[in-house]
């Protein structure tokens, strides 16, 4: 066996024997360092003849390369071992709970409003809004409810204390004043939905002193009761996410519409705590409505000889209760976290017509 073979075997043995990076480094220095055995060997090439160098050169160089490779491989293996040993001490108990993150919710009224907005936007209805504190004129008189009209008694109105100038305003009893404001400021054709907070001096399991209404208004030259029926049918199908609904019309009275119509929705309430729409033998009150009274149009600056249209309205909270099986209206406004978490909706559950209004 030549000296070179012996040297290689000794160095490789030393590499294998190195137990840590420091020992390995010592081997490297002893072999490939400035004064290392292989470095010394390589230095001897300089003193050789050309022929001899041609013969020994590749042998020495390949020896150096093999040793370098062996050092690198051993270094990698040592690093792997060290990492494995380190990781073995780094175990966590993954069954411990994740860091708690608060889970926010959207109020059912907001969710249902977004659902309704999506449906009516598809039919070209814009959302109109107005103030909660209203002029008596807009809440009543311009809606054909003059002072001392018996219909005012139906409204259980909250009054704001008289102002310094003697004016006395109301908390709106319906969102119809938004219709008044819209008609006063826009020219037909008009298609709006006016949702919002409304107020009545009334409180029990089905009434709250504050609640939400939605109203619709269409004014153009041709729209009639048949169109209203169609809109309500299409809305109910889309909103309750059923294929068929049946609605029933009853003559009624509202000072601001003529003719006036109340609508009921066919449903099945035979199973306790559950309502199925479009079937069954029960009727649920859905909305009040009618053709806008010519006098209302006139008072709002629209020519009743030329224009006509319908208005309808109902309870937004009530729609949420019906669709999502919420039994009582009062907790809507009590901000009980347990209720909010139970009936609330996830932030990213945004109702769309393409994705569906609800899960």
């Amino acid at each position: 066996m030549s000296d070179i073979q012996t040297l290689e075997r000794e160095i490789l043995a030393a590499i294998s024997a190195a137990r840590d990076e420091a020992a390995l480094e010592a081997v490297r220095v002893a072999a490939l360092g400035k004064k290392g055995a292989i470095s010394e060997l390589l230095k001897t090439l300089g003193g050789m003849s050309a022929d001899e160098r041609k013969e020994k050169g590749p042998t020495f160089n390949s020896l150096r390369d093999r040793i370098a490779d062996a050092l690198a491989a051993r270094k990698a293996a040592l690093a792997d071992d060290a990492l494995s040993a380190k990781l073995a001490t780094e175990r966590v108990d993954v069954t411990l709970p994740a860091r708690p993150e608060p889970r926010g919710t959207i109020h059912p009224v907001s969710q249902v409003l977004d659902e309704m907005t999506a449906i009516f936007a598809d039919l070209g209805f814009a959302i109109a809004e107005g103030p909660d504190v209203e002029y008596d004129d807009y809440n009543f008189t311009k809606l054909n409810i003059p002072p001392d009209h018996p219909a005012r008694q139906m409204h259980d109105t909250f009054y704001v204390a008289p102002q310094a100038d003697g004016s006395r305003h109301v908390l709106r009893t319906h969102t119809s004043p938004v219709q008044v404001r819209t008609m006063l400021s826009q020219k037909p054709p008009i298609r709006i939905i006016s949702p919002g907070r409304t107020y009545r001096v009334d409180s029990d399991a089905t009434h709250s002193a504050m609640f939400h209404q939605f109203e619709g208004l269409v004014i153009d030259e041709v729209t009639h009761l048949g169109n209203l029926k169609w809109v309500l049918e299409e809305f109910c199908k889309a909103f309750f996410e059923v294929d068929q609904v049946e609605i029933r019309a009853r003559p009624s009275f509202f000072p601001f519409t003529e003719p006036s119509v109340e609508w009921d929705l066919r449903c099945d309430r035979s199973a306790p705590g559950k309502i199925v729409f479009g079937t069954g033998n029960d009727w649920l009150e859905l909305a009040g409505s009618g053709m806008v009274h010519p006098r209302v149009l006139e008072m709002c600056g629209i020519d009743p000889e030329k224009y006509q249209g319908f208005a309808f309205g109902g309870g937004l909270d009530r729609l949420a209760m019906l669709k999502y099986g919420i039994p009582d209206i009062r907790p809507f406004f009590e901000s009980d976290l347990r209720w909010l978490r139970h009936y609330g909706f996830a932030a990213l559950d945004i109702p769309t017509l393409d994705g569906g209004l609800s899960r």
Binding site: R99, A121, F158, A209, N227, P255, D336, A347
Partner: protein, 808 residues
Amino acid sequence: MKFTLSWLKAHLETDADAAAVAEKLTSIGLEVEGIEDKGAALKDFTVARVISAEKHPNADKLKVCLVDIGGGAPASSSEAVGQNVVQVVCGAPNAHTGMKAVFAKPGVVIPSSGEVLKIGTIRGVESRGMLCSERELLLSEEHTGIIELPADAKVGSPAADALGSGDPVIDVSITPNRGDCTSVYGIARDLAAAGLGKLHSASVSPVPGKFASPKKVHLNFDSHAKPCPLFAGRFIRGVKNGPSPKWVQDRLRAVGLRPISALVDVTNLLSLDRGRPLHVFDADKLSGDVQARMAKDGEQLLALDGKTYTLDGTMCVIADEKAARGIGGVMGGEDSGCTETTANVFVESAYFEPASIAQTGRKLAIISDARYRFERGVDPEFVVPGIELATKLILEFCGGEPSETVIAGKVPEWRRKITFTPAAVTRLAGIDVPKAEIVRILMNLGFTGDDGDPMQVVPPSWRSDVEGSADLVEEVVRIYGLSKVPSAAMLRPSVIARPTLTSAQRRARIVRRALAARGFNETINFSFLPRAQAKLFGGGDDARQIENPIAADLDALRPSVLPSLLAAAVRNAARGNADCMLFEIGAQFDSGVPGAQQTIAAGIRAGSGVRTWTKATHEPDAFDAKADMLAILESAMGTAMTAPVKAGAPPWYHPGRSGTLVLGPKPLAYFGEIHPAVLAKLDLKGPVAAFEVFLDAIPERKVKGKARSPFSPSPYPAVERDFAFVIDQRVAAEEVLKAARNTDRQLIERVDAFDLYEGKGVPEGKKSLAIAVRIQPKDKTLTDAEIDAIAEKIVAAVTKATGGVLRT
């Protein structure tokens, strides 16, 4: 408005039962609220005839009866037990041959016991049914014997009919426009027009007067105010007041009224039956003539409800020569009312203007049957017939002798022509009704007119609510059948729906969902709250008070959304949920006039977080609120909010731990910790972090077009340099950051504060603020010398602006 089916049938010839009547009523706009049918509870009980009643062979007090229960051939007394004759053992002492009784067959549930009747054997004799007492049917406590029905009761027919309790009571909700249906007759009239039956004639024949009325009537009004245009009166002498006849009492009781005396019952009966309110004075308690006049300001009257009312000059009273004796059309006076000893009466029948009655009723807060009818409009043509009918009934019930009728004023003009195009029905209601049908419906409802096109239509005297063409469309459609209106598609304004939300609505929606995504629970709270709470948040003044609050402590419009949320946190804490993140998007009221409200997104963080094994909880602070506020603004604006905040916020915030973000002239948001004194008053444990963002003040996006600006990252390496400055404690960090930023706005990309230190090594009253400055060259790589030059400029700028010294 309640009435019994038989009362209705006194005016309407129809075979319809209560259910059919109710269905028709609802379909023509007279909504039935309910049908109370006592007869339904007795539906299993029938009329039977006792063929024979013999002594029980084994018991002295029992009888064995053979009973004809009907349903077969008429039974003779000799007939044996068969299909329609059963044997019943009965203990009633009054059971006797030939009587009509109430029979219960085996299987029927006896109301008093709730038990099912079985075939039994009593002392060896089989009994196949029962003859019932009033107590057993829960009709009364009477149990001394079985019920003996009138002899003409039909064997086998429902016992309820024979008992007189088979008369269902129908309750109709009358809408305020239908004054004509505040009477049974009016309802019958509407049903007849809708084809449910034939209306019996209701013409009233005059009762001739026997003498001239010793009392005259007068209308004493200024020329312009005529709340009472017609006043009729009649003197009836020698009456004897007492109980009214049973049929009158039955009708009144059935609809929930207590019979009082014949004279009073007559007025109640006519009010209900004909919608004609009347008043009957004890004539001996009136001084001289009777007049309708305006009340004097401050005039007082003790009314029939026992209360004394103070009147004013806008109210019409009925007075004698001394004083007001009644509030016209609203309520009579106690002192001139009839009693058991009344001998002479003066009957009043008048027409009062609806608006005047409504105003008086509202001012005095009197709710009466008379007000209810007058303010909805009574039939002006029925004033005089009404007094004739009243006279007739009083003579019938109380005897006496009537005077001639005295009348002041005249029937107010009610005839008005409405121009009506039959095509309006199609135009408004979307349904084709043949013209002949339109004419027929209107005529049946009592309208008159020609049948031209357009028609000239005159509504009947009792329909003051019908004013125009649209009203006539309603009349036609409600009778023709609203359910026949077909649904008709509405045109889409554009093939693909366009966006309809305003930018403000869009912002509110995004903010709502952004807050929920941050972990906040959305709430909706009342817009009013206790005044004491309002005062803590800059409100509670008189202009923002509710005049008639639903509860004494919900009396103020909220000046801020925060107190609603804090109160909610208190309630949740009481339920064991002290940790809450609540928000609301809603109105705050800056005064009590329309439009003085702003839409606010407000939120609170209360509690120190859920306890967890990671122990990472922390108490909410101003920087939580600041982050929430910035997140809202960034989500609403779609871009980072770069406007600086200033220290300080309104007084409900902690004075040293709150800030305001101002953009332009107005604050855009407040944030910080809630003032501990405010928390203490609300009884809430702190600290609580809160924010209020004024959504209406968020500026509109100014960028036009949809294209983004070009993306041009610098190819040259960015350099980050850290500096620590020792500055006075009162110097705002923003001053340091701003000075550094402004040193070279081209090269300095961003400046961040990454450490704040006070304490050992930093002099008293000073703090050390460390900032990181990121320098991003755009057109070349910077040399060390250039970077050092910038660093020197930064240090100089910060020192100049804040007096800060670079910490070494």
